[in-house]
């Protein structure tokens, strides 16, 4: 099987990995008492990236392996963005450059988490369906359903953190996440029941 495969560029995942590592390094300097947490946040993604690129997907790759590598690169990019967003906000708040009350910090971090879910949902549907799958059409429809659920959940979560009264915000944001999660669970269960 020959491939017409442009391949996903390694630059976005590499940038996301580097940004996460750099922000974690900043946090180690700013909050040395939390060194273990920041080191873990900064090291886990670069190590995973190196293992994937240098070991799991090294050398000549078939079309299927190239596609698998592309899916992993997209996942690494999204994971990097989801880690880098709260890390960047934490770095800003702890640096003293921006002074904010605890509730503003909580809102900003909550909204960043929601935004991360939104970004993941939006980009997750960009991964093309596996042609070797038993039911490619159904897999494609399921992936789109999951993507839309994540986008709506992320958007609702971020808006709840930004605009709901502080006493209610965690509860509303949690509920907004729970509803699409239940919808996804039902869809996946039904899909597995009718292979």
């Amino acid at each position: 099987m020959t491939a017409i495969h442009a391949g996903r560029s390694p630059l976005p995942p590499l940038s996301a990995v580097m940004a996460t590592a750099a922000l974690a390094a900043v946090m180690v300097v700013q909050e040395p008492e939390g060194v273990l947490v920041w080191a873990l946040a900064g090291v886990i993604l670069p190590v995973a990236w190196l293992l994937l690129e240098q070991i799991a997907f090294a050398g000549e790759l078939s079309r299927e392996r190239l596609e698998a590598r592309d899916r992993v690169r997209l996942a690494v990019t999204i994971a990097g963005v989801m880690l880098a967003l709260p890390l960047a906000l934490t770095a800003i708040f702890t640096s003293g450059v921006v002074t904010a009350s605890d509730s503003v910090e909580q809102r900003a971090l909550g909204a960043a988490f929601g935004l991360g879910i939104f970004i993941y949902g939006n980009w997750s549907t960009k991964a093309p369906v596996d042609l070797e799958a038993r039911n490619a059409a159904r897999d494609q429809a399921n992936a789109r359903y999951l993507g839309v659920c994540f986008v709506l959940a992320g958007l609702g979560n971020a808006l709840a953190w930004l605009f709901a009264p502080m006493a209610w915000a965690p509860w509303i944001a949690g509920a907004v996440l729970a509803l699409p999660a239940i919808a996804i669970l039902i869809r996946v269960t039904r899909s597995r029941a009718n292979p």
């Binding site: 099987m1 020959t2 495969h5 960009k126 093309p128 490619a136």
Partner: protein, 97 residues
Amino acid sequence: MSSVFKALADPTRRRVLELLRERPMSAGELSDAFDVSKPTMSAHFTVLKEAGLVESTRQGKSVIYRIKLSVLEDALLGFARTLGLGEARGDDTGETS
């Protein structure tokens, strides 16, 4: 981003994306669904590929197209269809079925 808008501004390309949203299809299957010449269809596929909205894979003698729409691009596709972008200039989809 402008390449995405350019790709979605044409009703034929939008219809191609809608067909691919159902399932992956070969270039032949897609061409059969439209009453336009193969070079024209090929040009549409090129625009869609350049915008990163579809991916092509050769399987034996046929080329299989798969959709690569993000959720927001999908929403844009819906808006473009609702607004009838590109249809005002009398550019119909040329669809046969």
